[in-house]
Symmetry: D4
Subunit: 223 residues, 8 copies
């Protein structure tokens, strides 16, 4: 099995309305270069996620030059991101500083697909007044992505305070029984705040994709 | 601590736009009767979830007579459900017959809050043609709730086929390493179909509440 | 090995200042009767925990008549509880109605040892205003026992709001990934609110004993 | 205990009809060199699995020169592989690019034992049309090895579409609740597609050996 | 959602060559009766698995009279089983008496699909001479299903002794760290005997279906 | 999202009476420098925990010069620690030498907040006479922090011997089924010694904060 | 597969010097009766373990009359136990009253094989003086079986105090994170007291068999 | 807390008859040097376990010169080992080459305490004839230590073949569901071969200490 042939899922983009993306973790330079050459030939803007700095640097200059790379979120825009569409509809909150990488992956994925996001950070519930102070700003947004590690309590608290869609993004922040994010994830899924949904641990990309699916509802006729 | 005093969260309903609901599992007849009398006094329609048939039957006749009880979903409408609002916007799919109780909890929760749902069952991916045969019906719906136990593969397959919001509802169906629904939940969260979100195992109520949050986006201005 | 001989730990009571207690779960009527006859012979008031209603009813009348039994907390006072000492120093909070049995075990253990407790219930953080409304009452108490199942978020929120000792009491309330209380326990232990401590799931007795150890500090000289 | 003495299982090869193989992971250069010298003395072609590139390079030149080493699958043929026997009977599918190492271990093990395999990759079920497009090619093969990480859904989908033997090969691809391949494995074992069997996570060698046992049935009289 | 409508997967039977089957566990009498009436109308022989004795007895007489029910394996043949095809090709071994229910589910599934099986029991490896005494009988069979709970060691021992296909069937027999069959399953998957494959815990039906897929290879041309 | 903006929780310090602290693990030099510059500007003494030696060394000299850094506990005092208040009220015990890092984090946190601690080490219960020899010293202290890895038995033994508050601090010391400290934690929580409380694995900071909450009770009026 | 044929392992008894035994849990009356008739025909005394009272009572009178049944340990001697051999060499200790069933299974197994045991109970380490008070009696015994649930600390404490063989018998006593005996088992295996060995949770029979293997060393020549 | 003070457990050696030993993993050079200087001052031969090669090399020459260090078992004899006592009484078996480090730790611990061991390797049960070929040698030994990773089947097979004491030593060899040795450990504990006992994963030192306790029984009077 050669590892340089691909059957990229370029059609999916059209089917479900989310731009093309490549999960870079564990891929070799040869694989990544091949994928990007395909994308360039098709003139298809492509989002790279989980692209480590050393993976980025190992790419040939012709590819690095076409890429907007961000080391915090480990994402790259290969080709041009979609133009921004109207006002900010998504808030991305994080409980602590260490949740920023996962939250940034969500923000960058939204941006690549044409949406700006309001970033709100350091609003963990152990200091409740911090999230309260931002509530007027947060409440009107139709979609919130809420990143939280450790005890994962922030989405629950917000779930009782705001009427919009809440996509909880558990992160692997913490140690001991935080268990690499499993405790945050399980706490979120066990929340009695009604209607909170979750994605996999550290899956900022997935949280943003869920938001994109939701944003497509705006402007459609309701009941 | 007396177990007949309550501080019901009637305000939450207004804050987040989801009707009042009581999780009945493990509550005594005395507790349930007290809660329902409070609701009756306030004339507040209330949804009961996880209300076992024997819990329902133990209620006083004055309360049973006011309740529309469904044993499959183990839900009761105490007081009048919200009137139906416009066309059906939500599909509720289930992979197998055993997923029906969880799926029905979602359908009944939607109905209590004024939304009809299209029920589509027995469309598990081990017989792929079954879901394919229903795709034209499913694809236009803005929100899908997809119940699946065992291997939890149905939401992934749909995630690549439809552009709408997909709320995956893992169920405890299966045995051995199905592990009471954990395998279905983890498979859903590990899906590479972008933008699928999940609720807790068998949490049909939560899936419906997530759908309600999403449906509120319909009719709002988009970008 | 006969199962009617015992080497009760009556000396421990004196050593560590906590009244005698028997964990009844899984003990036979013969074992319980034998233990209580020993206690009666020594005139030692004894607390029974995890005493199911049918275990209580199977005891001989001479023992039932000497016992103050409470079915909600499944506790019995065999002999006289200690007299109440001064003002209420402990608050016992619970997030939801289903946490009442564990919380009541704590309240009854405190009472048996001479302490009243302020019971505060239905203050789960998915409806944050409920705990906020009681904060002035709760804040001055030197010791709080905080029972919470599901996502276990209440102790974290309180940990940032009050300066007193917080003993978190995770409960087995919830389903699916709530995992019999493990998620609540792990969320509590992973909390970034500083200085929260935990006991085992549903261990209301242990939470009260921890509170008793703390209350002994009151009145001692500080720094 | 000296670590350079061995009691290799050369007889097993004859008993069960699978060529000799050495699992190299964790073995020292001294151990590997000793094993290969034994094999050379007996003129016994030997397959090495989990042989890291740096382990290969540390071998003496006399051994490296006799070895056909492949870094993607981390396998080495020491001595000559068996000659190819007739037409291709095995398909090796993988859901994503990251499954290629495990799939390649299977392909190389088959080749060492005299069987070619049809490699089919990037046919994950989140883009269902990809596997559908290859179905005519895949369906007639008597044995399929299906590598899948993350949600492990591909073997289930195939199990409903093809009548041949399906050996599912879960891989450790994924993060968070993918749990090092356990979710893929459990989803495969929980599949309701009848007659799918599984090997350990990333065990491409074992999947190929299972295929070899199956291929021996071809040509034998049936009912 | 009515729970009496079905979209049975009757086509799958033709596609993959395995007879129709219904997993009865958790299904209501209404559901089962409806499914069997559909099957009767189509004159389709149907295998029922995990059909508890009380589920069988609750069926209407018209259905019970058409069913060959076996309480040990909890299986029912509704309609006529396929006629037996030629000589016995499958051995079904079990390590201990308690593995008989799972093993019998496999034997009955094979029989429903037209295959006899050689049953070999009480050959656990803690008494190694027992399996050795039967080896001449077992060795020539092309397919073995090997049921084992507790430590799951029997498939490993056989894997080194026989060249045929080995489908390991872990069972939930055991207590403590046997962990409902997970230890047997994991031991089987971790076996160094090459080419052993596994199905889910207690999944005798799945083991038999895997055997059916393998048996189709007999009589086909090999290399 | 810029990763150099912060909303530090400086008010919490006043609310709950515990000095400011920063959890340094996983924070970048840019983040740490920014946080410390804020602290310096506000003239707020700050405790750094989980500050690795290489993180400390990467700080600018102006910050390193103001910090008292201890590599064993990986803590830094940025600015002046609180003056010592009166006699030693806390004992910090550890079962083995490897528990010293976690125990030292507790001691340093206490010191930063103005409390000295009595350190007692190598008193694991496999050599029971060691803890017995120190009992007279330990018994009068109102608060004990007891660090233990592996089997976590030391807090249980002490719980039956001393009347003071016992904060158990499980550590990640051990291998195999010690499971990174989970066994010690679970053994502590399962202890039948009444009134022992626990913090997260290796959370010396949290154990000290719990002690600080308890010490505030000294000098207050009791019953 | 008939469930009334058996290949009992009567030869093992001679090979390894431990009397015949049948694990009754999950066996039907038909199976048990058949096994006992075989044993009676061969005049082979047989130990039954995990024989529930209702299983015993369902046996035919001719078998019940030949059996010495003990409901606490759930063991039956079918036929005559071996005569007692010399002085007591084994101590069986248990931490709490609830450990008595597992401990009694060990005592009865020893007795069936000709050995008396010294039973010592209620010596849990939360009341350390209790085990200390019995130390002179316990120390000279060559083999100790130590039953402990919850935190499993008793074997560790004894391991540092006595030179004999210590077989730890974890029990399923406890709740919450005691996890059905896994915490006790893991704590025992993680003990730093050197040379403690363990059997499965509640496996009193296995602990006694291990003791029997050890007792065979007595009287053999040493070094 | 200084990390250079120690309260070594030199008395334990006398109490339980096992030579002094230091677990080196995670200890710093300063700690190790201090401990060894204490030992040297007391002229106490000391066994070091889990001493990595780089830890050994970092010791001062005066200590390295007094130490017999073995890198495979990662053990060091500091001072003189006990003289050999009489004939070999212990066999140490291992299933595969990768089990040698754990097995060697056991052999070295025995040697330090004056006992030789018969090493038997590569006798895994997937090639059953290998262990059978050595059975006459193994059977007469009073104590066997049996190291096995992966499926952990070797101790079970031996348990049915030999009458002596069997200390199973699970190792962390394997991948995927071998789960770092947990599967081998659980399979051993779930074995139906009567009287097998286990130590922690990779705990060769503990297995040897158990053997030492057993060997003390030789030469004592039996029944």
């Amino acid at each position: 099995m050669s590892d340089t042939e691909f059957l990229l899922d370029f059609q999916r983009s059209e089917r479900i309305g989310i731009g093309e993306a490549i999960y870079a973790e564990g891929k070799t330079t040869i694989q990544l270069t091949g994928i990007l050459d395909h994308a360039a030939a098709r003139d298809a803007p492509t989002l790279l996620t989980r692209l480590a700095a050393n993976q980025f640097e190992a790419l040939p200059r012709r590819q690095r030059d076409r890429m907007d790379y961000d080391p915090v979120s480990r994402t790259g825009f290969f080709g041009t991101a979609a133009p921004l569409r109207g006002p900010t509809q998504v808030g991305v909150l994080c409980a602590g500083t260490s949740d920023i990488p996962a939250a940034s992956e969500a923000i960058r994925t939204l941006r690549f697909n044409g949406h700006a996001a309001l970033a709100v950070h350091d609003v963990g519930v152990a200091g409740l007044w911090r999230v309260m102070a931002r509530l007027d700003e947060i409440r009107p947004l139709p979609v919130l992505i809420v990143a939280a590690g450790m005890d994962g309590a922030l989405p629950t608290v917000l779930g009782g305070l705001v009427p919009g869609c809440i996509v909880a993004l558990p992160t692997s922040v913490g140690y001991g029984v935080a268990d690499g994010g499993r405790t945050a994830l399980n706490a979120i899924l066990s929340s009695c705040a009604p209607g909170i949904v979750a994605v996999n641990i550290d899956n900022g990309y997935g949280a943003a994709c869920a938001a994109l699916r939701m944003l497509r509802l705006l402007g459609k006729p309701g009941a």
